[in-house]
Amino acid sequence: MALPTAPPTSSADRLAEQLQRIISKRIDDDSLVLPMLPLVATKSLELLKNPNFSMKDVAAVIEKDPMITVQLLRFTNSAALGTRDPIKKVQDAVARLGANQLRTFLIEAATRRLFESKDTRILATNKRIWEHSLVVASVAADIAALANSAEAEAAYLGGLLHDVGKPVVASMLLEAERSIRLSRPDAVWIGPADFLTVVQKIHRPLGIKLAQKWEVPEPVLRAIRDCDDYDSAERSSAANAVRLANAIVKEQGIYEGEVNKDDVEAMVMIGQSVLGVDISACRQLVGSVRTAVKAYL
């Protein structure tokens, strides 16, 4: 009698397994090369650690990066902040935001850069992942606020970063493809669907590692790390708000990749009870958030 054979493994599964092994090893021996925070963000975040930080000093650092300066002024004058008189100076923008919101803004600006790519194949995918992340971030912040949580800011950042490993994996795959084709020009590489499968399978540990490297606060890190189940001990935590927001946003079809409908329905049903919010209102929020995000992209 023949031994039972293992089910056939797809090329995506094999590649994912190989990459997972390589990444795990690099994480273990601390040799994984991850994207750095832009220097301006690093310096500004360092200054913001001081509770008596000088707004003038922070503004001077930010002004060195024209891109971040433009984004900061645009954000400070955006609808979300309800500014009555337009803010024209970086120092005024810093004063308007305060340390917490400025920290969120800087990490958001840095994260946004990770989703940019010169490769047209992954640019569109990255854009959709970024859109999903922005919508999850906004909805998570609203859910946290509606659940009377004090962690709305952390929920926003958690939502923003919960898939941050994906563009990093995508870049690694591109790099791997280039190396292989250099040595074997006729080598067969995975197609777009398998590409996404690999990204989905291995993005989590990379995202966590990146967030640790960027020194994001612990509640944000928890939101990225524990995505599969709710924490029933801390019902109103930022992590729970991100989980529910992620499920609702997936349910509404704002997601790049395959969605397990049963899992999503379960996450929505559990989250509603865990956080004590009415799901129909949360679903309504997604529409307006998406419109705002599309204008922002």
Partner: protein, 401 residues
Amino acid sequence: MARILTVDDSRSVRMIVTRELRALGHDLDEAEDGEKGLEKLEELSFDLVILDVTMPVLDGPGMLARMREAGNKTPVLMLTSESKRSIIANLMKLGIDDYILKPFNAEDLKAKVAKVLRQDVGAPVPVLGPASDAGRPAGAASVGSAGAGAAGAGGPTEGGVGGGPNRAFVDILVIDDMENVQKRLRQMIPEHLSVAGALNAQTAIAACRDRGVRAILLDNDMPDVNSVALMRQVRVLQPKAVVLALYVRTSTNVLEAAKGNGFDGVLMKPFDVGAVEDFLLQYFNSQDLVSKDDNVLKVAKFKGRENRLDSYFLEVVSNVSRYSEEIAAACYGEMVLDVSAVPPNAEKVARMMLEINSRISKMGIEIRLVGSPEIAKTLKQYTETAQMPLFGSVDEALRAA
């Protein structure tokens, strides 16, 4: 009323469920594990089973599976401390109708039971329920979905002009299903204050999410939505805004009730000029009477009772003086003051102009007025103001520099 079976190995949970649901008039029966629960189901027919997950002898998923195998389609509400996605997803496949995580509050239980038993038809529903039972107003329990009823009535409608260059900011948001309410208010509010309207909960939430709002007027009798729950929600989205309840005049003792529910005050419908004025005085800073764009100041129209006219002119003088300091600091040699909207009260206008002129001339700023022929006629009546330069438009005044 419904016949309900609660299956839980915890006696205290069964007792709480029984007590709370009996208080609503339901018939309750209990079982301490899945086997005993199945026995009860063979003896009697139930409208709802409230089921725990982890139990001795036969657990919740086991009992549910055997119920469905036997063709029993009684609705099942899971009441459990289990929150693992994989377990709940499997239970959903077996056919559960809803889920409550332990520890739970009585209001959530009652709301979910009502929902599963479909007792929500026609009942007023909130948009969101608070996470805890604390402070939940009577009747604010979640008993259904506000989705379909509230959706599709269009976005927030603009009800006026003004409000500064940034339209993302709204001074007053009127949440009322009657469109005429915001229109009437618009007619009574000075033009420099912006008014937006939302006809249902959905658009109200969207407006509160997308814009900064200073004051929210919320109809106390919104269809399909519990106004108190909606108020709590808009407060979360707009923590700095003042929220007033709108009541019809036939209501009595409403102020105390509204404040008890968490509103900051009330405004009666149809609106009374005096009450609207009081609202503006209380919640809007008088500096909004004058708007500034570089060295151009525009005075807003007076709206209110005659006896407030004196204070209007005093506030205009005070605001123009304050802005003139900023204009001087920015090194402008001239200031354009648009008084087109000022009421044509000859003596008061002339006194106001004299006072302003006296204050700003000390700063070395030259004044250029913009106003109607009527204002020109008024100024010419007095020796002190007859020579003040007056132009027909702001552009003309700026070109004369």
